[in-house]
Structure formats: C-alpha cells, structure tokens
C-alpha cells in the first residue's frame, strides 16, 4: 500500500549512486534488481548526473530505506551486511518508491491476525496499521504473496508466529523474498501509471487462436500447426502440461511427411527494440529425427532494406527426447525486427516433428548456462539430507574462462533438511594457467527458475556469490578463491576424468521445500537452474568523484545527518586498489582524478565525462550558473533588464538617427 501524496513520487527514471562502501556482491545485485524493475514496470534507474534528487545506495548498518521521495536531494538507502539478496533490494526500493509494508494496510485485519502477546515487548508499534487517508491500497486485493509482507515470525518473542493468516494455506506464503508478486506489480504500475515495461517485448503460450500475431511464411513448403498433442509427442503442451481441459496448445512442425529439406516458417509480429540486446527463451520438443533442425533467424528492417533481411542466429539440433527443453537465444538487434522460427525436415525417418511453446522475448541478458534436473520429485523423495544427497552440475566456463560447478543438496544439509542448499565452486579448467588468481570479482548467480509461461509473472529464486580475491579460507592459510588445483580437493566426473574442486560458497537455506513445491519451480517433473558467472570488477569504483550535497556517514542507520544542502563537499577520492601486491586486478579501471581539485565555482559539481572534468552548475527556478567553471550567474530578472535596456538603447539610437536625418533633410531643402 502506497503513501498518499503525489509529492512523494519519483520521476520514472530515478537517478542513483552506488556508494563505494557497498559490498561488491551487493553492487552487482542492485543492478540485477534494477533489471527486474525494467522488465516488469516502467520504472528505470540511471546513474546520477547532477540531478537534484537521487537515491544514494550505501552499506550502512542493516537494510533500510525511507518511504517515497523525500525531496531532500540525496536520499539514502542502506544495503548492509547480509542484505545482498535481490528480494531484499527490491523490497527496500519499493519503500523508496512509496510503499509501506503490506500488512499495515487499513483492511489487514480482514486477512491476518496479529498475535499481540507473542510480539517482543516494546515492538508492538511495528504492527500498526494506517487508515486509508494515509495509505492507499490502490484497489488491489490484500496480497499474502507480496515481497512487502512481513514473515510470520517478524518481531516474535518465542517460537510462535506473530502473524497468522486468516486463510491457513497462506501461513507459509507470507514473507517471500523471491521477486515481486503479481499484485506488487499491479500496485507499482498503477501508482506510476505504467502502461508498459521497459525491457519486456513479447510472450506467447499459443493459447489463443491468433497465436500472438505470428504469421506463417509463404516462402516455405509447409506450415506450423497449433495443436494440443501429437501421437509421437509431445503428449501435452508446456504451458498447462495437459492439466486444463480445452486448453494447452503449442506449435508443431510435422517432419514425418514431406521431402528432405522441406521447411515451415513461423514469424513473430514486428517488434521494436530499445536496448540493442535481447534474450529469446522458449521450450522445444523434438519428437522427430536427430537430423531435423530448428533455425532461429531475425528479419531486420532498415531504411536500406525496408522488406527486411534475414540473419541466422542459431541452429538447434539434437536427438529426439520425450520432454520439453528450455532454450535461450541471445539476439542483438537494433532495428525493428521479427523473430523467425524455421523448422527443416532432415534426412532421417521421423514419426513426429518439432514443437515450440511458452516463448518469451525480453531486452535482457540471457543466462550463460542452464542446468536441467529431471525426475526431480524422485530425487526429493529419495535423497538423504546432507552430503549423501548432494548432486553436482556439469562443469561450466565463465565468460572470462573460469571453470565452475554448482552443488545442490536436494534435501538440504543435516542442519537444514527442509531446504534446498546451493553452493558455487571453482573447479580446475583448461584456462587456469592464463587466469588471474585468486579469482577476483566474478559474480556467480544461481537462479531456480519459476517456469511460469509469462516471464513477467515468474517469481524465480536466486542467490549470487562474488569471488573476493582477498578472502581467506577458514584456516587462514590459503585464499578461498585461489586455484582449485591449489586449494581444492580431488573429484571426478561420471566418465572417470579427475579434476580439482575448490571450496564452495553458498547457502544452506536457498529455498524451503514448501516454496519449492509452490508456483512452477517443478514442472514436467524437472527444475531448471540458470547459471551466470560474470566479471563485475568494473563496479569496484562506482561512486561519483564528488558528493554534492551531503556528507555520508556510513557507520550507523541513526547517525546520518546532512551537513549542508548547498555546499559541495571536498571531492571524495575514489578508492585505490583494494588488493595487495599478490593480486593484480588487471580489469580495474584507471581512475580519472581530474575532479580532485574541484574546478567548479558557486557550488558546481564536478563530474567526469569522457574522462574529462565537466562542471554541472546549480540552477534554481529563476536563476542559474553558467560557464566552464559555473563562474557566471544568470537570472530571468537580469535577462528582463537586459532585454528592456536593449530595447531602450535601440529606441534612443533610432531617435537620434531620425532627428539627425530630419535636421539634415531640413537643412538640405532650406538650402
């Protein structure tokens, strides 16, 4: 429920600063949280460039924010130790955008009961509710699934819950920190009048006969058919898994008929990119022959080629399988385009064909790797807790060349048996001699995918781990993220190849089994773990060289006081190397220092643009500073005086000229 008052709203593009006090993992996660806002709402974030009001995210004590835009210039939001989880960051930014906690809405007593005698003494005030003159639930139903809802154990004194849901089934739902709920998004989009989101492009589950505006090409031999099952497979669509009568469709290209090389082409409607990079996701089922192919193309329209030109993006091939498989295809399209799915019959004998379902296209980065775990229910039912029930992902390489692996405890560790536990390990790889060790600032993200057909309604669960090159092992004798063949233990792949696996970092409370069994985490009896390991060393230094209005005290939540709202502080030096001589951060950006001697006058703010200092000059409603160093002042009053003076001057000059002319003419004619 939102704070009432338009003055508390931010503009749709919110300027932010990531203070260098933030942990590196938190910095990377904040950017990922922004991506979720871009995918699901019209709220965008931009690095601060001198705007009056902005959010400064820093590592304070704890995780906290103000509610709404306080319009005080710099507004702080703390992502402290242990707050580096995407759901926590989304929660705090929803406060900043103007939302209170869900259970404080005026009608909450209709939906939850507060058990006052279980609350810690002196903490009752945390369970107050607001009347509808203070907060607005935006005509959205009470939301047990909100990322803004307290958990059942908030502020408890003992072991019994402080909040009991009036519908018992929701007891284990409240307090989720996976992602925005549908109602969170509805409220945010209503509050900010969003009619579309920034990076979402299209979703299609083929449930409607218009097949989302896709068209069959005429330059082929066959058509894709909209079906709900095929004798050779699939037996059902992926959207509903055949569970809903009279629904559940997918698109199928029959490769059991026709000649070798015959094709069917399905094209999406025309799409308009904004960001220049896209991720196409879809589920694919091959019941044909291994020689059958699915080609993904884009048809790009430019002024030079108004009818479009085709560019092949990916060829998808593989042995037939009896299940749907998730595929990701990265696109990098900058002009209007269509995605083209071309099925091609191969040379072999087929009884079925190629099928696609649950397509999503968004202007986001694709995950680097996908780990599909099938027969998951069996694993859940049979795996013991602890290391005996631990499974490992296949080995993967990061974009920088580091080899890594993920371990999953299906039935948790012995301490946390009702949770999924997940850990990230570096393993020995082919590039180890060429890589920097200890491994520095590589952020590994492990996402358990909510397989909802519409990407906007997914509430996936994710955690990220960032390699800190100075982190020591428990014994303090080695670096934690050093070469796996130096600090790891021997392990082997199923084919018998041995390798070295470094220590793992992760969590034994990745997700409770209760939540795992909710939503669409398990679908077609499989789960997907999406893995990405990316270099975030460019985030080592993120804060601007000058804090323009406030001195930031990062030590405590309660000791932050503005020093001045007009005077620029001395330039804040960016941190120099955070590593010792034993670690070389080859990717560390060279730090421009031209703003160190702030050249700007009159409270101008120095920022680096194209590696050169530029002054951002202060301005008010009717005055401004200008010039390279903000040395000159302008005002509307001065302009008026100048304009009036100029007019008077021109008038006087004209008068003199007229009089002189008249005198001269009179003199001439009198002669």
């Amino acid at each position: 429920n939102s704070i009432i008052g338009d003055n508390y709203r931010w503009p749709h593009v919110i300027p932010y600063v990531l203070d260098d006090s933030l942990e590196m993992n938190a910095k990377g996660l904040i950017l990922k949280a922004f991506e979720q806002y871009r995918l699901k709402t019209c709220i965008d974030f931009k690095p601060w460039e001198g705007e009056k009001n902005y959010i400064s995210v820093f590592k304070g004590s704890g995780c906290w924010s103000s509610v709404g835009n306080r319009q005080e210039g710099l507004q702080q939001l703390s992502i402290g130790a242990n707050c580096d989880k995407i759901g926590t960051i989304q929660h705090e930014f929803l406060h900043a955008l103007g939302f209170w906690h869900e259970q404080s809405r005026s009608d909450r007593d209709d939906y939850v009961s507060i058990i006052w005698d279980r609350i810690q003494p002196g903490k009752d005030h945390n369970f107050e509710k607001y009347d509808d003159k203070t907060s607005d639930s935006l005509n959205v139903p009470y939301d047990y699934t909100s990322v803004m809802h307290y958990s059942q154990n908030a502020f408890r004194n003992g072991t019994e819950p402080t909040i009991v849901t009036n519908i018992p089934d929701f007891m284990d739902v409240i307090g989720q920190r996976m992602d925005f709920s549908d109602y969170d998004l509805q409220k945010l989009n209503r509050l900010y009048s969003c009619s579309s989101s920034l990076s979402f492009m299209d979703t299609c589950s083929f449930e409607l006969e218009n097949i989302c505006g896709m068209i069959q090409s005429s330059d082929d031999n066959s058509d894709w058919q909209r079906l709900s099952q095929v004798p050779a497979g699939p037996n059902s669509d992926h959207t509903n898994m055949g569970e809903c009568k009279d629904s559940g469709y997918f698109m199928h290209f029959n490769t059991s008929a026709g000649a070798k090389g015959s094709t069917a082409v399905l094209e999406t409607r025309i799409l308009y990119p904004k960001r220049g990079f896209q991720c196409l996701q879809f589920y694919f089922y091959n019941s044909g022959h291994e020689s059958d192919r699915l080609y993904v193309w884009v048809r790009e329209y430019t002024s030079a080629h108004p009818n479009g030109t085709l560019r092949l993006i990916e060829e998808i091939k593989g042995s037939p399988a009896t299940y749907w498989q998730l595929h990701h295809v990265s696109l990098n399209v900058t002009s209007k385009f269509r995605v083209v799915f071309q099925g091609m019959r191969g040379s072999g004998l087929s009884n079925g064909g190629l099928s696609i379902d649950d397509i999503n296209l968004s202007e986001t980065q694709c995950p680097h790797h996908v780990w599909h775990i099938r027969n998951f229910t069996h694993l859940l039912n049979t795996s013991p807790a602890g290391t005996a029930g631990r499974i490992y992902s296949p080995p993967f390489y990061s974009s920088k060349g580091y080899a890594f692996q993920v371990s999953l405890y299906v039935n948790g560790t012995t301490d946390n048996p009702f949770n999924l536990a997940m850990y990230l390990h570096l393993i020995s790889g082919a590039n180890d001699d060429q890589l920097q060790w200890p491994c520095a600032w590589q952020q590994g993200t492990m996402i358990l995918l909510d397989q909802h057909p519409d990407i906007r309604q997914r509430m996936s669960n994710q955690r990220s781990i960032t390699t800190d090159p100075l982190k020591l092992s428990d014994s303090s004798s080695t670096y934690f993220w050093d070469r796996p063949d130096k600090v790891g233990s021997i392990a082997s792949f199923p084919n018998g190849t041995t390798f070295m696996r470094g220590p793992g970092s992760g969590t034994s409370t990745f997700l409770t089994h209760q939540r795992l069994r909710s939503r669409n985490f398990i679908k077609d009896d499989g789960v997907y773990i999406l893995l990405t390991m990316e270099d975030i060393s460019h985030l080592l230094s993120t804060q601007p060289s000058v804090s323009p209005t406030f001195v930031v005290n990062t030590s405590s939540a309660n000791t932050i006081k503005p020093t001045s709202n007009t005077t620029a502080t001395k330039p804040t030096m960016r941190p120099t190397a955070t590593t010792t001589a034993s670690v070389t951060l080859t990717e560390k950006p060279e730090l421009p220092n031209s703003c160190l001697d702030n050249p700007c006058e009159n409270d101008g703010v120095c920022v680096i643009v194209d590696r050169a200092p530029v002054c951002r000059c202060p301005a008010g409603d009717n005055w401004w500073y200008m010039g390279e160093r903000c040395e000159r002042k302008g005002s509307t009053q001065e302009n008026t005086i100048i304009a009036v003076s100029s007019t008077i001057s021109v008038f006087i000059v004209m008068l003199i000229v007229t009089i002189t002319t008249a005198v001269c003419l009179k003199k001439k004619y009198s002669q």
Binding site: S61, G62, C63, W64, S65, S66, V67, R70, E72, G80, N82, C83, T88, H91, E92, H95, W100, H101, H125, N126, Y150, S151, N153, A154, F155, G175, R177, R374, T387, A388, R390, I391, Y392, S393, S407, T413, D415, N419, A421, Y423, H425, I465, D474, F480, G488, S489, I490, A491, S492, F493, P494, P503, G504, S505, G506, T507, S508, T509, A557, N558
Partner: protein, 46 residues
C-alpha cells in the same frame, strides 16, 4: 545429473545456516527503525 563420490569438499554458508529476513538482520544489529526497516524523517516521527 552428475553424481559425486564421497570425496570431501568444504563449503561455507554465507547465511550461517539461518534464513535471516530483513527484520532479523536489523534486529540483530539493534537498529530502532520504524517497522524494522523504514527510516522516518522528523515530520513523520512526530
């Protein structure tokens, strides 16, 4: 699924084995924030 024979690999739990929510984290730090994680300005406090 790649199974692994019982060769021991060490692991560290960044959460210390506890699923700490925002409010637990702030409480453990002794913060006295409104509703656990909201910073009020002077006018709101009044």
């Amino acid at each position: 699924v790649w199974s692994q024979p019982a060769l021991e690999t060490t692991e560290i739990d960044v959460d210390g084995g506890i699923d700490q929510d925002i409010f637990d984290i702030n409480e453990a730090l002794g913060l006295d924030l409104f509703e656990g994680d909201i910073k009020l300005d002077g006018m709101q406090e009044r």
